[in-house]
């Protein structure tokens, strides 16, 4: 079990972490016809927006309350009100998710109070679902903001079922922010193959999977609809993926009585065996032939690949749930975790087998990664990897210097199989060719015999 230590440095160098505010904004982007709104200065939105554009290579809907210095001091009610009115008029969304930032939190703007007052005077907003979430960027990290936004959507939108409905084929899935649109697509297929009907909150696979829409809208194109969110209570089960979603799953259970099952991860053989058994159990459908075949393919990939993974030392930096999914899987393939750095506290960290996990930055990673065989983190790890001469496997967010980040799949038997190939190929490509010096004895005997005789 790993010890979690907080870095003692005063200056954060090469940040790993991103803010809660944009984590929440991304969660809101998994809702259809949505507009996330950051209550802060325009830079808060602009930086987040550019980051998402670079990662997803898609147009990103995101607005700002454009707080000025004066507005910040006096309070942001008018800015929030104006922003909502303007967004309603210009973009006609079905949903606006409002995230706070550092300045609106320090000022203490009471968003829930604001909402009530705005609702009372603006009937034009009646048809728009509004959800606010507290996401100060001076505490927590991206995945905390994502989780908080999902919890708030459940609290504000999900209807409490009047009576216990008949057994439903509808299944709620609450994916953590480390699941890509590609992961969600894959997971949907798996669940559907058991005759179940999954709905995802949030559903980035509808909005940010990179597709060609029939028309161009200023809001999200695809994702879970507000109507679907309201009906989460009529599902028979909730599947939560990643420790970060536990809170949201519990909130949903309390509100609607829908029981939940949390999967810490869906990468690796055992993890997916659990998923299959669960789905088979709740659906009373035996595991389809397709997945028996895929399981067998994964086992074959593990056999073929383990030669290259065994004994390899890996330095990892990612948010807790992604870190834990990757670290546990790498260990299952025979790797050692030489260094692990993460952004925020989480029970998920306890399960990782390494000496210590640092709550820190990419400098902390770089200092601990020397001699490792592989670095696994987001694109910002590229400088450290280059300086250390260690290959980098990009994962998480942002990935701005590779194509296809939104379709990187690491869930399911098949996703795990392909991950073995991607990472294994990096190990293969960086294998060193032997030279006459490779087996030279160390120390005083390092001189070749012939040359010492010549002297």
């Amino acid at each position: 079990m790993a010890k979690v230590v907080v870095t003692q440095k005063r200056c954060t160098v090469n940040p790993l972490k991103m803010s809660q505010s944009i984590g929440a904004a991304l969660a809101f982007m998994g809702v259809h016809n949505a507009m996330p709104l950051l209550h802060g200065s325009q830079g808060c939105t602009s930086f987040g927006l550019v980051l998402f554009v670079r990662h997803f290579r898609e147009a990103i809907p995101m607005q700002t309350t454009a707080m000025s210095e004066v507005a910040t001091v006096l309070g942001g009610f008018e800015n929030v009100e104006q922003a909502l009115v303007n967004i309603a008029e210009r973009s006609k969304p079905a949903f606006v998710g409002i995230c706070t930032t550092g300045i609106s939190e320090i000022k203490g703007d009471d968003l829930q109070g604001f909402m009530k007052m705005i609702r009372a005077t603006h009937s034009e907003l009646d048809s728009i679902a509004l959800v606010d979430v507290s996401t100060p960027d001076f505490e927590g990290a991206f995945q905390d903001g994502w989780a908080a936004a999902v919890t708030r959507m459940i609290e504000e939108l999900v209807e409490v079922p009047l009576l216990i409905t008949h057994p439903s084929k509808q299944i709620n899935v609450l994916p953590g922010c480390h699941l890509t649109p590609g992961d969600i697509d894959k997971l949907r297929n798996i669940i559907e193959d058991f005759g179940l009907d999954p709905i995802f909150l949030p559903d980035l696979s509808g909005s940010l999977d990179g597709h060609i829409p029939d028309e161009f809208t200023p809001t999200t194109m695809g994702g879970i609809t507000v109507e679907q969110i309201r009906k989460l209570g009529s599902s028979s089960y909730t599947i939560a993926i990643g420790e970060q979603m536990r809170g949201a799953a519990i909130t949903l259970e309390h509100r609607t009585g829908v029981p939940y099952r949390l999967f810490e991860r869906l990468t690796g053989l055992a993890a997916n065996d659990e998923l299959m058994s669960f789905l088979s159990g709740i659906s009373r459908v035996s595991v389809p032939q397709k997945y028996r075949r895929q399981r067998s393919q994964l086992i074959d990939a593990m056999l073929d690949g383990h030669f290259y993974f065994g004994g390899k030392r890996v330095a990892l930096a990612a948010e807790p749930d992604l870190l834990s999914a990757m670290a546990l899987w790498l260990c299952e393939m025979g790797c050692e975790i030489q260094a692990a750095v993460t952004t925020t506290q989480s029970p998920a960290l306890e399960r990782i087998s390494t000496e210590e996990i640092v709550l820190g930055d990419l400098e902390d990673l770089e200092m601990r990664a020397a001699g490792a065989d592989l670095i696994v983190t987001h694109s910002h790890g590229r400088q450290a990897a280059e300086r250390l001469g260690i290959p980098l496997f990009r994962i998480g967010m942002p990935v701005f210097d590779r194509l296809g980040a939104n379709h990187q799949v690491t869930v399911g038997y098949q996703g795990t199989r392909d991950l073995i190939f991607s990472v294994g190929n990096i190990f293969l490509a960086s294998a060193h060719e032997p030279t006459p010096e490779t087996w030279m004895p160390p120390g005083d005997n390092a001189q070749p015999f012939a040359s010492s005789v010549m002297q």
């Binding site: 803010s19 325009q42 830079g43 147009a59 309350t65 454009a66 009115v85 001076f138």
Partner: protein, 472 residues
């Protein structure tokens, strides 16, 4: 905040800015800091602008005092290139936490500066103030002063909380910080009659290196670039230049004008985008240097170089004429200066069918009309949805714009070329213009367009069936 407030007033009422001077005196004071509309704003904040202007200084440590949202989302994102030091690509931030909010972040900041100096010993530390510490009253100037004394090296306060205003304002405030704390604080090892400053050029994608060989050949030395591929020492010595060129945007006009005032360095506003503009700029540089005492033969050498390079550029562009003539271009770009590329595009026969004039002044509009020979549409405020519709209806063969409208074009399956700052190719100087034409050609002639526009077979079958049903 008082000092920041007066600084902002000062830079907004910029006498060197023709646009501002054309306004009535009351308007003038308001400057160009437009009030933002909540819910309908786009663009970066003052901090963003300051970082754009100063982060290209390669050998200093850039420390951002604020919570993670300010630096964590934006570091190592700009393509400013360095010919040497790489410290500017390392991100430093105090990543303020709740403790800092409650007790103040000054001590945290002070210790962070010390840590950086101990680890990297840079020639200077630039410290950027953001909204949260400004709000809780962290005294940036005082901390920097104390840290400078303790560390024995310059620690430069850059007071640019995002809520102060736009990116453009941030550019100017960054310039003020250079004027107040850096420029004129060191002396160059030697000076020559050919020393110039280039102001407002950031060496994005190494564009400065498309120009530098020309200057090298003429014997003109860039004493300081503010701030592309710059070293701290160069900027500290920049007051010894003989002439300056303010490149492209008016972002750092306050720096150019105040350096003229304080140190007598004459400047002109020029551009290295476009063949004609590059030649003009070289000419003006040579003339300014000669006026300030450089030997007159520089003018002749400059003319000879211009003639040779222009001929070479047109020779290299010529083969594209046949391929590109008659293609229709939608041009959506902010600054009027990007218009310098228009002449090159038109020269080879591309037709500008439409353009935006959202950010243009009345003067700009006249100029645009003069530039575009064919009758093109000028759009005041084209919404992405309308832009998409136009492209869908094939009213243009290619769109040239900035990253914000990239996906409008791509989703409409229309070739697109980035001509704003996030672009992937360098377009400066003569070689850059040839490169631009090459990129336009590459975009237009890519074989994917025909494939991606093809209707899926089942869709066309459906259409055919429907047609047959209709006939029946």
């Amino acid at each position: 905040m008082g000092t920041l407030g007066s600084k902002i007033q000062q830079v907004l009422n910029e006498p060197g800015c023709a646009t501002n001077q054309a306004k009535p005196s009351e308007e003038r004071k308001k400057g160009c800091n437009k009030l933002l509309t909540p819910g309908a704003a786009a663009g970066g904040c003052a901090f963003d602008g300051a970082k754009i202007a100063l982060q290209p200084i390669t050998d200093v440590a850039h420390l951002i005092h604020g919570p993670i949202g300010c630096e964590g989302h934006s570091w190592d994102a700009r393509g400013s290139k360095s010919s040497g030091p790489l410290l500017y690509r390392t991100s430093f931030t105090t990543a303020m936490n709740e403790q800092d909010i409650i007790f103040g972040g000054e001590k945290h900041l002070y210790q962070a500066i010390k840590e950086i100096v101990n680890k990297h010993n840079p020639p200077a530390v630039f410290v950027y103030q953001t909204c949260v510490p400004a709000m809780i009253g962290d005294d940036l100037e005082a901390v920097c002063k104390a840290a400078a004394k303790k560390c024995g090296k310059p620690v430069i306060p850059i007071n640019v909380p995002g809520f102060a205003g736009s990116k453009n304002l941030g550019n100017k405030l960054a310039g003020e910080a250079l004027l107040d704390y850096v420029i004129g604080t060191e002396e160059p090892e030697e000076t020559t009659p050919y020393d110039i400053n280039i102001i407002g050029e950031y060496n994005l994608l190494g564009e400065q290196w498309q120009i530098k060989p020309l200057l090298d050949e003429l014997g003109i030395r860039i004493l300081a670039s503010i701030s592309g591929d710059a070293r701290y020492h160069q900027i500290a010595c920049s007051h010894r230049a003989r002439a300056a060129m303010m490149v492209c945007s008016k972002a750092l006009i306050n720096v150019a004008r105040k350096m003229e005032e304080r140190y007598g360095i004459p400047f002109f506003e020029g551009s290295f985008y476009g063949i004609g503009d590059t030649s003009d700029s070289l000419r003006k540089l040579a003339r300014l240097l000669v006026e300030r005492g450089a030997p007159a033969e520089l003018l002749e050498r400059t003319e000879a170089l211009i003639e040779r390079e222009e001929a070479r550029a047109w020779r290299e562009i010529a083969p594209y004429k046949k391929r590109l003539a008659g293609k229709r271009v939608l041009l959506f770009t902010g600054g009027v200066k990007s218009w310098s590329v228009v002449s090159a595009l038109q020269e080879i026969g591309l037709i500008i069918t439409g353009t935006s004039v959202k950010k243009s002044t009345p003067d700009d509009k006249v100029r645009i009309k003069e530039l575009i020979r064919v009758d093109a549409h000028m759009y005041e405020n084209l919404k992405p949805r309308e832009m998409y519709q136009m492209l869908k209806e094939a009213k243009a063969d290619i769109m040239l714009s900035g990253g914000r409208t990239q996906f409008v074009a791509l989703k409409a399956k229309v070739p697109w070329l980035d001509i704003n700052q996030e672009r992937h190719h360098a377009y400066a100087g003569y070689v850059g213009m040839v490169q631009l034409i090459r990129e336009v050609d590459k975009a237009l002639s890519n074989p994917i367009w025909e494939q991606v526009r093809r209707i899926a077979p089942w869709e066309s079958a459906k259409a055919e069936n429907a047609l047959q049903l209709h006939i029946a």
